[in-house]
């Protein structure tokens, strides 16, 4: 196992928590509640033109003819481009994952020659208004010859047809690893339990669709790009790398963003085309995606099959785990994450979960299909991996006649630090405690009694448990620990003004999580001032602090670490001047509640505001050799991979008439170390769990056999609504990390990571009188009704032969 050398930017100052830990109301809210937020669609630049895309209506075809002259002649149209027109500027975006066994693809900005999924952009139109641009799109004259569409991962694996000529054997990625004597564990096993799980294909569906505005200034050669991206600095880098814009002249601006959940953590063709169009027409250009486009062309998510097996000894202990993931990657690697985002993450990031399995083996395979590329959505890989691991745990518990709580207690890691077979080190956690606590929360004996009484009346209640570990705060160390070499670090700039109030800029863009509030809490406590006296800018412009992207549950850990470090530099200056003013030693000065005071002598103090004023205006109060800038920029990265953990239990009731699942209650235990703001953490849990409920029961991007996407509105793609969502009981455990500012750990994805397993386990618990176990998501009413009649519909059911070597042996 490779570990990184420690660097200066990996340590943070120790702070006294005042505002950290409290339910500070969000500073973002007054604007957002009063309609004063500024989202990308709300931004209008003088003289702007509007952009619309023509998208492929077929899954797989060869373009035989393309004529845009009708479009160009249309009134109000300024420009129309096909793939040939954009090619001289950019060949496409390369998707390649830095592990062995990856076959890269190049995603063109506009398709040329071949279209490979419904929704792929084939032409773009710039016109006076969005209405005019959309009208003109209708006038495209093109012809195509349809090619066979590959719509199923197993058919793709068998290479019956080729989905994308760039991948002649349909293989985007293939690899694996083996740790310890897995074969021996399975040979010696007293019992082997195994199953194939399927996640379904879903869309993150942020309420705000994607959008891009670009403004090129020919005189200055500058380009400004507004994008509701989760990775503004990476986008800026891509604009220089792919389009050749001079780095110093490129600025990416992220406005208020209406949810991202990973879908906006990519670099999309649209983001690279708009700046080119602006340069070409010499006007600002604006594109706001509509919902149909969002469901068709923004990254899809999660679809994969996971074959998992546990070897169990005669005490019921897991002695080996085999996980084989087959991801349906869609037609291209979605840059920058690639098809690895699901199958690789699912098997590599957490093959063992909370269980003390001594041996592990995995393979990951991603295949191309004629469907929208699969990218990131909250809980990448983790959701599928957790679904398989936790549902198989319930299978094992049933096979052993143990309660789901007891099976997990039997197998849970009890001593830290724990190194899993792969070499991933877990420094701390409340893994056992989270099982115990959630069992008490649901009052398991009382539940069992209620369940059996209701069964007699023909009512089917089920309780499902899911216990999780979440990698938090994506960092250089996390990347290394999982065998990659990605470097992450983020900066923050903190400035203290003459009145003793602070302005903070971070390099992470925010999508609604409340990041401005949480990092203000961290800054306030580091500087010893009130949280109301801190104002935060979240990556409004790449001209300010640097960031590696809001993803991988990084926000709270990484941004607050950078803020604590930058505020720490200022703090030392304030202490030095306060010491000089109070005639004390800087080491004896503490900053708390707006005061700089001599430790233990509260009568001997001066306000932080007075110290700040003195630093700006009163040279006599300075100590010798003082440097008066009250602005500091510091970087932060965690020195070690860190993991939060917890558990969800969900109670459901099945309706034997309709097959609908009624969600009765969610019980959540979350341990993300020190909680900066419980409101925000609870909001992340509720939102994530409800997305998990959606993915398990309501949401499915459905394709027909010709590769036609059938779900292109929210009428067909059903998000959970208020009437189906249950109330929550939430419990916090705090096991702080020793390596982050204040002991914070990230937790933004745990709800969606773990809820689907809890739902599937709950449904299977409710189905136990029928002797049926379901393993495919989503749990549609048809599947539930069939199960209650004793049958299993596996929408995804591939034949065992089709997978051949990929089945666990």
């Amino acid at each position: 196992m490779q570990t990184i050398k420690t660097h200066q930017h990996m340590t943070t100052p120790v702070i006294a928590a005042r505002s950290v830990g409290s339910r500070v109301l969000r500073s973002e809210d007054p604007r957002l509640l009063s309609g004063r937020g500024e989202f990308i669609a709300d931004i209008d630049l003088p003289g702007q033109l509007h952009v619309a895309f023509v998208r492929s209506p077929v899954a797989h075809a060869r373009i035989t003819h393309m004529d845009l002259s009708g479009v160009r002649d249309c009134e109000g149209v300024h420009l129309a481009w096909s793939g040939d027109d954009v090619l001289p500027f950019c060949e496409g975006i390369v998707g390649e994952f830095a592990v062995e066994g990856c076959n890269p693809t190049t995603m063109p900005l506009l398709a040329r020659g071949e279209v490979v999924y419904v929704g792929e952009p084939i032409a773009v139109v710039v016109a006076e208004s969005r209405y005019a641009a959309e009208d003109a799109c209708e006038l495209i004259d093109w012809e195509f010859e349809e090619l066979p569409a590959v719509t199923d991962a197993h058919a793709s694996l068998a290479v019956l047809n080729v989905a994308n000529s760039q991948l002649p054997n349909n293989l985007g990625l293939k690899g694996g690893g083996s740790f310890g004597d897995v074969a021996g564990a399975f040979e010696r096993a007293d019992k082997v339990v195994e199953g194939r799980y399927y996640t379904g294909r879903v869309s993150a569906s942020p309420m705000e669709t994607r959008g891009v505005i670009a403004k090129y200034g020919w005189a200055s050669k500058s380009v400004q790009v507004w994008s509701n991206t989760q990775m503004p600095h990476f986008l800026r880098y891509m604009l220089t790398a792919y389009l050749g814009f001079a780095e110093q002249d490129v600025e990416v601006i992220t406005p208020d963003t209406g949810g991202g959940f990973g879908q906006k953590a990519h670099v999309y063709p649209e983001e690279l085309i708009l700046p080119l169009l602006s340069r070409e027409v010499d006007c600002p250009v604006k594109w706001i995606e509509d919902r149909r486009e969002n469901l068709m062309a923004a990254a899809h998510a999660h679809e994969q099959f996971i074959d998992i097996a546990y070897a169990l000894d005669n005490d019921g202990r897991i002695t080996g785990v085999r996980t084989h993931a087959l991801g349906d990657g869609g037609a291209y690697h979605a840059p920058p994450w690639t098809m690895a985002v699901e199958p690789w993450c699912a098997v590599v990031m957490t093959p063992t979960g909370i269980y003390a399995a001594p041996t592990a083996e995995y393979t990951y395979t991603a295949v191309a299909t004629n469907k929208t590329p699969v990218g990131a959505y909250r809980g990448v890989g983790y959701m599928a991996g957790t679904l398989a691991r936790e549902c198989l745990a319930d299978d094992a518990a049933r096979a052993l006649g143990l309660s789901p709580f007891d099976f997990r207690r039997l197998n849970v890691v009890r001593e830290f630090p724990w190194t899993n077979p792969q070499g991933i080190v877990y420094d701390e956690g409340s893994w056992l405690e989270s099982i115990d606590v959630v069992e008490q929360m649901v009052d398991y004996p009382a539940f069992l009694q209620r369940q059996s009484e209701l069964r007699k009346k023909g009512r089917y209640l089920g309780l499902g448990l899911s216990v999780f570990v979440e990698s938090s705060g994506e960092s250089t160390a996390t990347s290394l620990e999982h065998g990659l070499g990605d470097v992450y670090h983020d900066t923050a700039t903190v400035r203290l003004g003459p009145n003793g109030t602070a302005n903070v800029a971070i390099g992470l863009s925010a999508q609604g999580q409340g990041l401005a509030t949480t990092v203000a809490q961290m800054a306030a406590d580091t500087l010893g001032i009130n949280v109301e006296d801190v104002s935060v800018d979240t990556a409004r412009s790449t001209a300010h602090a640097y960031g590696s992207g809001t993803l991988g549950s990084r926000g709270a850990v990484i941004a607050s670490g950078a803020v604590a470090r930058a505020a720490g530099v200022i703090r030392e200056k304030v202490r030095a001047v306060a010491a000089s003013m109070l005639e004390a030693s800087p080491d004896d000065i503490e900053l708390v509640d707006g005061q700089a005071m001599i430790k233990g002598v509260s009568s001997s103090s001066v306000s932080v505001a007075d110290v700040a004023t003195a630093i700006y205006f009163d040279i006599d109060s300075w100590p010798d050799d003082f440097e008066p800038s009250l602005e500091a920029t510091q970087a932060y990265d965690t020195s070690r991979a860190m993991f939060s953990n917890g558990a969800h239990a969900i109670v459901v009731e099945l309706d034997p008439e309709t097959g609908f699942i009624r969600f009765e209650n969610v019980y959540s235990v979350e341990d993300c170390g020190t909680v900066i703001n419980p409101n925000i953490v609870e909001g992340q849990i509720r939102g994530g769990v409800v997305q998990g409920i959606g993915a398990s029961a309501f949401e499915e991007l459905a394709y027909d056999e010709s590769g036609q996407l059938l779900t292109t509105t929210f009428l067909d793609y059903g998000l959970p609504t208020m009437d189906v969502v249950p109330p929550f009981v939430i419990h916090h455990i705090e096991t702080p990390s020793k390596h982050s500012a204040a002991g914070v750990k990230g937790m933004g994805e745990s709800g969606l990571i773990a809820a689907p397993a809890a739902v599937l386990n709950a449904v299977n618990d409710a189905l136990s009188p029928f002797g049926v176990v379901l393993r495919d998501l989503p749990l549609t009413p048809e599947k539930v009704l069939a199960a209650m009649a004793g049958g299993v519909i596996t929408t995804s059911a591939p034949t065992a032969e089709a997978v051949g070597e990929d089945r666990p042996k």
Binding site: L33, G35, Y131, L139, A204, P206, M207, N679, G683, T713
Partner: protein
């Protein structure tokens, strides 16, 4: 291309008590009129198919999907949008309740939900939890998981009767 969509008409309507007049294409939606002609961008578009509820405004005091309403259909009508809810100094009690209950994250769905909830509370100042769920189930929110939205509306309703303190969602 047919000429019909580009046919133009004069419209005049009151939005948040101020009169807006314009000559517009008949196919222009009320949402686009509010956002682009009246420059009130608080009303959001999440689907333009009438499903998500983000674009909900009050049309003559009743909730309406402004993405499915043509601006010309609102000719002579009274429209209220999210910008009308606060007095320009403080949040309204309903908005404040959303803030206290963490009833929003990204805020993109919020305008529509606030307008639906306002119409509900105007018509029925003491809604039950069931009334709230029935009304607001027509709005999609991808961030919050909804429970805190229910709690916020309950809090606003409770406060309009007596200054009681906040309630918990769970």
């Amino acid at each position: 291309m047919s000429d019909t969509p580009e046919e133009r008409m004069d419209v005049s309507m009151s939005i948040n008590g101020r009169t807006y007049r314009a000559n517009i294409e008949v196919r222009k939606t009320l949402a686009d009129f509010i956002r682009d002609d009246a420059h009130l961008s608080g009303t959001k578009l999440g689907c333009e198919h009438g499903v998500c509820g983000a674009c909900t405004v009050l049309l003559n005091d009743s909730p309406a999907r402004s993405c499915l309403t043509l601006a010309v259909q609102a000719n002579g009508d009274q429209v209220r949008t999210v910008e009308s809810l606060s007095d320009g100094h403080d949040l309204s009690p309903l908005q404040q309740a959303f803030r206290e209950q963490h009833g929003l994250q990204c805020g993109f769905c919020t305008a529509g939900i606030l307008m639906s909830a306002s119409a509900l509370l105007e018509e029925n100042p003491h809604p039950t939890r069931g009334d709230i769920v029935d009304t607001v189930s027509g709005s999609l929110c991808r961030c919050t998981g909804y429970q805190t939205i229910i709690a916020a509306i309950e809090q606003a309703a409770a406060e309009s009767v007596h200054d009681s303190s906040s309630t918990e969602d769970d």
